[in-house]
């Protein structure tokens, strides 16, 4: 799939400015998470649902696998769990099924502190589970964690 020496660690090249895709169906939450991430020097793209997120990532229904040999556009995906249509969990699964995107860390956010939900997401490969509403300290912690994962 990926060409020659392109076994890129998608996170390695972002320096201090990771590009984050934030997915949430709630307008206020989108605005908030965007600000929180920007305050942590992240470049942010938002999507209002799983389908739009997948389209942005190049995994849309009518998109062929144009991802041959390309590196993911984003270094981190943070998504709400409870969304109409496709849940954050379903989005997580789709991402992990993609050979190009499966290395991209995915963080799930939820207002419900449900242990079953948390383990379900972590088992499916989510990097972290965060409780809403998010605070600046949560995002700082997340970024630290993400940077550590690179090394």
């Amino acid at each position: 799939m990926a060409g020659g020496g392109c076994s890129k660690d998608t996170a390695a090249d972002f320096g201090d400015q990771p590009h984050v895709l934030a997915v949430d169906d709630n307008l206020i939450d989108r605005k908030l998470v965007e600000k929180l991430l920007r305050n942590s020097s992240c470049k942010v793209t938002t999507a209002e649902n799983g389908l739009r997120a997948l389209e942005y990532l190049g995994l849309g229904n009518d998109q062929r696998s144009t991802l041959e040999g390309t590196v993911s556009k984003v270094n981190l995906i943070i998504t709400d769990y409870c969304m109409p249509g496709m849940t954050g969990y379903e989005l997580l699964k789709k991402i992990k099924e993609s050979s190009v995107l499966k290395e991209v860390p995915v963080v799930i956010m939820s207002s419900e502190n449900s242990p079953t939900r948390i383990s379900q997401c972590l088992e499916e490969g989510a990097q972290m589970f965060m409780l809403k509403p998010l605070k600046q300290s949560d995002v700082k912690q997340l970024k630290c964690h993400l940077m550590k994962c690179r090394s």
């Binding site: 169906d25 307008l27 206020i28 939450d29 908030l32 305050n39 207002s111 809403k132 509403p133 600046q136």
Partner: protein, 149 residues
């Protein structure tokens, strides 16, 4: 009124909002996100909250007027309102939403109607309070002062 008096008024007013649980710590988080690059961040987010909440309250009203109530849809709207109110720190609104969701789950129409009334009431209160607070801030700025944090 001079700047110092206005500033004191604002500080006291804000304190009362927290004390009476109209706002909680999450609102403070919002304020901390505001900076010179985004000097209107709080007002922007709160305005979005007002617009979105009004839309949701309309939807809730319509949904409860139906012959056959779609509780799933009702719950979805309440969930949204609960989420937004929680995100901006509108604690009393959030609390009513929690009760509202329970009534949706139990398909308790009476309960839902009561909750709708309550949430409209709490929303209207917090809206008035926040608008008053923003006005005070504007007055301070207009008088050449800075808004205390």
């Amino acid at each position: 009124m001079d700047v110092v008096q206005l500033q004191r008024q604002l500080v006291d007013y804000r304190a009362s909002l927290y004390h009476e649980a109209f706002l909680d710590e999450q609102f403070t988080q919002l304020q901390e996100l505001q900076d010179e690059n985004n000097p209107d961040f709080v007002v922007e987010v709160v305005s979005l909250f007002f617009e979105d909440s009004e839309r949701l309250l309309n939807e809730l009203t319509k949904a409860l007027e139906q012959q056959s109530i779609d509780f799933k849809r009702l719950d979805a709207h309440v969930h949204q309102l609960k989420g937004s109110s929680s995100s901006i720190g509108a604690q009393r609104v959030q609390k009513v939403c929690i009760a509202f969701r329970n009534d949706c789950e139990e398909q308790n129409v009476e309960g839902c109607l009561k909750c709708l009334q309550q949430v409209k009431h709490e929303y209207s209160l917090v809206k008035t309070k926040l608008e008053t607070m923003f006005k005070l801030e504007q007055q301070i700025l207009a008088a050449g002062g800075s808004v205390p944090m």
